[in-house]
């Protein structure tokens, strides 16, 4: 079975597609569309940004993604726009014309990626409601200092993607069946239902499940690995549902971070701010909430925060479902409580009480698109001045994201005072024995983890505690 997608109105079919060949290489070296650039081949620079379109009901939904870590089968049944798609009959579109006129490019190598990210904003793609800085947080430029690019983004108005004809065309591509293919001795599947996925996993328990490929993509582009059997999850619609209620939020494991962003922000603003800083938009447009948990990263950002909020997982297999506390899922470094034939179906996050005191912080060298040295999530329930409950969880402090029992014990049952917070901060230092690594020393991790307790206190006292909330003294 071939991979089929629509590019500039034409159906492109790739017979016998290599399931881990990247879209970027295919565009550049097979199709001669060299406008899309490789800057890093690991989803960190955005020079390869393209827009991927899919049907959501009867509407087109576009999203900016990194072509360098997008495997060909992930295109199947979708529509694609590259930088070459934009100029019509040689005439630049208004965004391009503005960027060309205002100095948005110097060396020009990153430019097509910026054009696509900003064009996505203009055509209402996923994340278009974010500030321009967030829309291009996953695009690196080394020449301009970003000013003219930001200005062009601010000036750009809505544009019509002219995608009306795509809707029937994409419907025509959809078969309703599990897509699959073979390339030499390597095979891939893209099931469309949870039941089909469960059956496939039962037959191929050694298969590698791939959701957004923001992690697995690097196994191939950097690790040069060959993966024998792949199951792509992007077509399983039931994994992409969000049920938001008074009690909490149920998020399908396949929900991309970009799509969960607003619902997470409604649970707590700090959670929204955390999601804003998970990868760049292209990464959040591909990476899923479930993938962020299932891959078992010791940092993972999402897990620490969700543990502190009391999240539960539902795992599913052909045998049925089971649920567990999120913190119980992580057993040890690289080891999770998932049987090979199970898949993560959904995450339940209870809604915090309005007066819960919550502070979530992601500490990085750079604010945007960086991996945490420490990701801390502190949740206190205070009744009449007494701390009734505490859930303190950290990523980046141990082999797995996990809670801080000594710190929690120092909090619960105590008056919510500075002395209590200081004592809890001290206790926190006994909860973890973090590593020295490239993102921070053990001492830095322990110091800042403890200091986050103090930051929570100062914020409760009404002090501004983030440099991101400051303005210059400049009038």
């Amino acid at each position: 079975m071939s991979v089929s997608f629509i590019l500039d109105g034409d159906i492109v079919e790739i017979a016998d597609a290599d399931p881990t060949a990247t879209l970027l290489d295919h565009l550049r070296y097979r199709m001669g569309r060299t406008g899309t650039k490789e800057g890093c081949a690991e989803g960190d620079c955005g020079a390869c940004t393209v827009l991927l379109g899919e049907l959501e009901g009867d509407a087109m939904r576009w999203r900016a993604v990194n072509a360098c870590i997008l495997f060909l089968p992930m295109l199947n049944g979708r529509a694609l726009m590259t930088v070459e798609s934009l100029a019509k009959d040689g005439a630049l579109n208004p965004l391009q014309a503005c960027m060309a006129a205002n100095g948005s490019s110097q060396c020009g190598f990153c430019t097509p990626g910026f054009v696509m990210s900003l064009y996505g904003r203009s055509v209402g793609a996923s994340g278009h409601d974010l500030p321009v800085t967030d829309v291009i947080a996953g695009n690196l430029c080394r020449c301009t200092g970003y000013g003219p690019i930001l200005a062009a983004g601010e000036a750009a108005g809505p544009l019509d993607p002219g995608d009306g004809d795509l809707i029937p065309a994409l419907k025509g591509l959809a078969t309703g069946e599990t897509a699959s293919g073979r390339h030499g001795d390597r095979i891939w599947f893209a099931p469309r239902t949870g039941a089909a996925l469960a059956d496939l996993l039962a037959e191929h328990p050694d298969a590698r499940m791939v959701a957004g490929a923001t992690d697995v993509g690097l196994w191939v582009t950097k690790g040069l690995r060959s993966i024998q059997t792949l199951i792509f999850l992007g077509d399983v619609a039931e994994l992409r549902t969000i049920e938001e209620g008074l009690d909490g939020l149920r998020v399908g494991a396949g929900v991309r971070y970009a799509d969960a962003h607003q619902a997470f922000a409604r649970l707590h603003p700090d959670l929204g701010e955390l999601v804003r800083r998970i990868g760049g938009l292209q990464v959040r447009n591909a990476g899923t909430v479930g993938g962020n948990i299932a891959n078992g990263s010791p940092i993972g950002d999402g897990p620490a925060a969700l543990i502190a909020l009391g999240a539960e997982l539902t795992l599913r297999s052909r045998d049925g479902r089971r649920t567990m506390k999120l913190e119980d899922y992580f057993l040890d470094y690289g080891k999770q409580d998932r049987r090979p034939w199970e898949f993560l179906e959904s995450i339940w996050i209870p809604r915090p009480a309005p007066d819960d005191i919550i502070h979530i912080a992601k500490l990085t060298r750079r604010f945007d698109s960086d991996i945490s040295a420490v990701c801390g999530a502190l949740s206190l329930t205070v009744r009449d001045g007494w701390i009734a409950a505490a859930r303190i969880a950290f990523g980046g402090m141990a082999a797995i994201p996990r809670r801080a029992p000594a710190c929690e014990a120092a909090l619960v049952g105590q008056l919510f005072t500075f002395d209590t917070i200081e004592a809890a901060a001290k206790a926190l230092r006994t909860d973890y024995d973090p590593l020295n690594d490239v993102r921070g020393s053990a001492a830095y991790r322990l110091d800042t983890a403890a200091n986050l307790m103090l930051r929570l206190w100062h914020r409760e006292r009404g002090e501004v505690i983030s440099v991101l909330d400051l303005e210059a003294a400049h009038g």
Partner: protein
């Protein structure tokens, strides 16, 4: 023709957009990797060293050769000529020969039918190493006395005596990290074999002539057998001045050996591990001063990590010494420059070329003196500026156009420095977690290659009989807008619209023996060479017109409305047709050599620079004293580009240079482990600034002035100087850290880059009693 003063008389200097802007935004601009690959193209990868220093006892490449898709595997023994890709000392091996001297050093070269096949095979080499003692850090190399060349001294007066007699004295120091260039386009070269042993190379290089010469020597060819072409680079910043040669030579070797076209497109992580970076420095100082903060004596020690080979380190470290005065008069001074040989990838050119490290040293000293006196650091800076009677640098060059005091005074007012400093003090008194800081720092940067013979350039201007014009010169386009500036110069000479000028790729078969496009000199040198070429043709046309129409040459005028000759008026195209029929040559080369510079490296005295470019910046920052996070809140810049050739391009260089400098001093950290392995070898761990790191408030104003020297249009170079404006960010961060203990008369111990961890450590250290 250096005597010409080309204040171009014809047109205003409009801010033409970058010549390739429309191609950039539509994805149509072609880079070296974008040409259609021939079916028989080979793809290349290096087998890399797993040790920082070792003897290679055995090399078993059988698994590499047997791997799927592999066509050929080469080692040092297969190189017909010189096994060298180094520019000066010829100590950079294309492929290791018996010994490796840095981690990830290329040992063997794989050519395969696909890129992934080459890369996979390159990991299959079985190499027996006998590890040898390796020096990874500056301290280790210092302890071992491991140097790439003897320690250099630049002295004036008697620093020791002046230190001993100064009313006040302090010593201090700090470390400044290196920097990866992180050009968005990685290293790439495509070699195509031609007839009779010739080689054509598409190379992403700032220095086509050097690639040509090295490849010729490597293959036992003459330079005339090798042609190097580069239309544009996707960023370079110095990282493709010498470093491109490795990949070009590898591609050329495979093309020569196999007779097939060969492409080396380096993976980003390999690129970061294998190519040189900005030099890390350890800076120590002993300074004597008076109660007003006048520096009376300085002994400055600059220790640089140079890596495993010489590369350009001597000139880079010289430039660090040249900029250790910045804008300040240092009466009795001794600058000691220690160039340490380490078993790390050889450090190389990077925007500023050592200047930033020298300059941040003296700016740190100004902050330190101010902290000890309890004064506003700006007052100390003002007290030390060059001025009448105190206007000679430590290398005996007179500071002829000392405009720094004027720029600083203007910026102090326009940026409301004093009022904001008071507001920031009030903010710091109110807030316990967040602290702010502000700083104003100036820049004076010397323009010219300090290796004097490099200050020359050639150009070729071809005027066709239809009036269209092609220009070519030795400069390369890496995004800095050189091509459009030179095109403007040529268009102005003939008074034609810039669209009539076709800019063509830089090629060694058009202009020979060129210097690297570096040292910010691209427009100064090539603009003048192109001007001279165009003027030669214009003078021929003028003579022809005067003869044809019987008027004086002074009655011939090239205007936007056509060429006037007495009472006659012709379009430029009509003139060209007429001149061609009249058998007038419409092509010319042009040449330029910078006048008046001379420098004696043995004594470190002379006039290494044709002129200085100036600027100043005010930065306001905030830090979080609980996490070490920081944010640059506001930046105001006034910068001197002389009389700008293209204000929009120049402002773009200033802004981009500043943000790159900000990255150097804040988020960009190179971390090597104790085995010498670079741990920050990808954008996942090495963090250049993103859009949100650009301060929300950022103003850039061009200083209204002109070069005192007769440069092209009386403009000044702009590529490097603005990079150092970002030192204001580091000084402001220091002030913010100091605000944690405002009454303490000491400078917080902050190293660069000021990562959250370093800021947090400095906050804690400064608060200690």
């Amino acid at each position: 023709m250096g005597e010409r003063d080309p204040v171009l008389p014809v047109l205003a200097k409009p801010s033409h957009p970058h010549d390739s802007a429309r191609l950039h935004v539509s994805g149509a601009a072609r880079y070296a990797d974008d040409a259609t690959e021939p079916a028989d193209m080979l793809h290349l990868a290096f087998g890399q060293s797993a040790h920082a220093r070792a003897r290679i006892a055995g090399l078993d490449l059988s698994a590499v050769r047997a791997a799927e898709g592999v066509v050929a595997v080469f080692t040092a023994a297969d190189i017909p000529g010189e096994n060298n890709v180094g520019p000066v000392a010829h100590d950079d091996r294309l492929l290791a020969d018996g010994e490796v001297i840095s981690m990830a050093q290329p040992i063997f070269l794989v050519a395969a039918t696909s890129q992934i096949a080459a890369r996979r095979a390159a990991r299959l080499g079985r190499i027996d190493y006998e590890p040898l003692p390796a020096h990874i850090t500056i301290e280790a190399a210092q302890a071992a006395g491991s140097l790439i060349e003897p320690t250099q001294r630049m002295t004036r007066g008697d620093a020791a005596t002046a230190l001993a007699t100064a009313p006040r004295r302090l010593s201090g120091g700090f470390d400044v990290g290196g920097q990866d260039h992180f050009y968005l386009e990685g290293q790439v070269a495509v070699a195509t074999p031609g007839e009779d042993g010739q080689i054509h190379l598409l190379s992403s290089t700032q220095h086509p002539s050097e690639v040509q010469h090295l490849v010729a020597q490597m293959l036992h060819l003459s330079s005339s057998d090798v042609t190097v072409e580069v239309r544009r680079m996707g960023g370079a910043f110095g990282g493709k001045e010498t470093q491109a040669a490795l990949f070009a030579a590898a591609a050329a070797l495979v093309a020569a050996k196999t007779g097939r076209p060969a492409k080396f497109r380096c993976d980003r992580d390999d690129d970061m591990a294998m190519t040189g970076k900005r030099h890390a420095f350890r800076i120590r100082y002993d300074v004597g001063f008076d109660d007003e903060g006048h520096v009376l004596a300085l002994r400055l020690h600059l220790a640089a990590r140079c890596g495993a080979t010489v590369d350009l380190s001597p000139a880079i470290n010289d430039r660090a010494m040249f900029h250790a005065d910045n804008c300040y008069f240092l009466p009795d001074v001794e600058i000691i420059s220690e160039r340490l040989k380490t078993n790390t990838v050889s450090d190389t050119a990077f925007r500023g070329f050592g200047g930033p490290q020298g300059m941040i040293a003296i700016e740190r000293i100004m902050d330190d003196v101010a902290a000890h006196l309890g004064r506003d650091p700006l007052d100390v800076r003002l007290a030390n500026l060059y001025g009448p009677g105190r206007d000679v640098t430590p290398y005996d060059m007179q500071v002829a156009d000392n405009i720094a005091p004027h720029i600083i005074a203007r910026l102090r007012t326009t940026a409301r420095y004093d009022a904001r400093r008071a507001e920031i003090d009030a903010f710091n008194a109110r807030n316990s977690v967040l602290k702010k800081g502000i700083a104003l720092t100036p820049v004076k940067f010397g323009i010219s290659f300090t290796t004097t013979h490099l200050n020359q350039a050639g150009a070729l201007v071809l005027v066709y009989a239809d009036g269209s014009i092609q220009i070519n010169h030795g400069g390369t386009e890496m995004g800095q807008g050189l091509y459009v500036k030179v095109a403007q110069v040529v268009a102005d000479v003939f008074a034609v619209p810039i669209g009539q000028v076709r800019i063509t790729a830089t090629r060694t078969d058009k202009v020979p023996n060129t210097s690297a496009t570096a040292a910010s000199s691209g427009a100064d040198l090539n603009g003048m060479a192109a001007y001279n070429a165009a003027m030669t043709i214009r003078e021929r046309l003028t003579t022809f017109l005067a003869r044809t129409f019987g008027c004086g040459t002074d009655e011939v005028h090239f205007t936007p409305d056509g060429v006037l000759a007495g009472a006659e008026r012709l379009s430029f195209a009509q003139l060209c047709r007429k001149a061609h029929l009249g058998r007038i040559s419409l092509a010319s080369t042009g040449y330029y050599a910078t006048p008046d510079i001379a420098y004696d490296r043995a004594t470190h005295k002379g006039r290494p620079f044709y002129y200085f470019a100036y600027g100043a910046a005010v930065s306001e920052v905030a830090i979080d004293t609980l996490t070490g996070e920081h944010k640059v809140l506001a930046v105001d810049i006034i910068h001197d580009v002389g009389r700008s050739l293209n204000p929009a391009i120049d402002i773009g260089q200033i802004e981009g240079g500043f943000i790159q400098g900000q990255g150097w001093l804040t988020t960009e950290e190179l971390v090597f482990d104790d085995k010498g392995r670079l741990l920050t070898h990808s954008p996942a761990t090495y963090k250049i600034p993103t859009a949100s790191d650009r301060p929300v408030h950022m103003t850039i104003t061009l200083w209204d002035g002109e070069n005192v020297e007769p440069t092209i249009n009386r403009s000044k170079a702009v590529g490097e100087p603005p990079f150092m404006l970002a030192i204001s960010v580091f000084s402001a961060l220091t002030q913010a850290v100091a605000a944690g203990a405002p009454d303490k008369r000491a400078l917080p111990p902050l190293d660069a880059p000021a990562t959250p961890e370093r800021i947090l450590r400095a906050v804690a250290a400064h608060r200690e009693p």
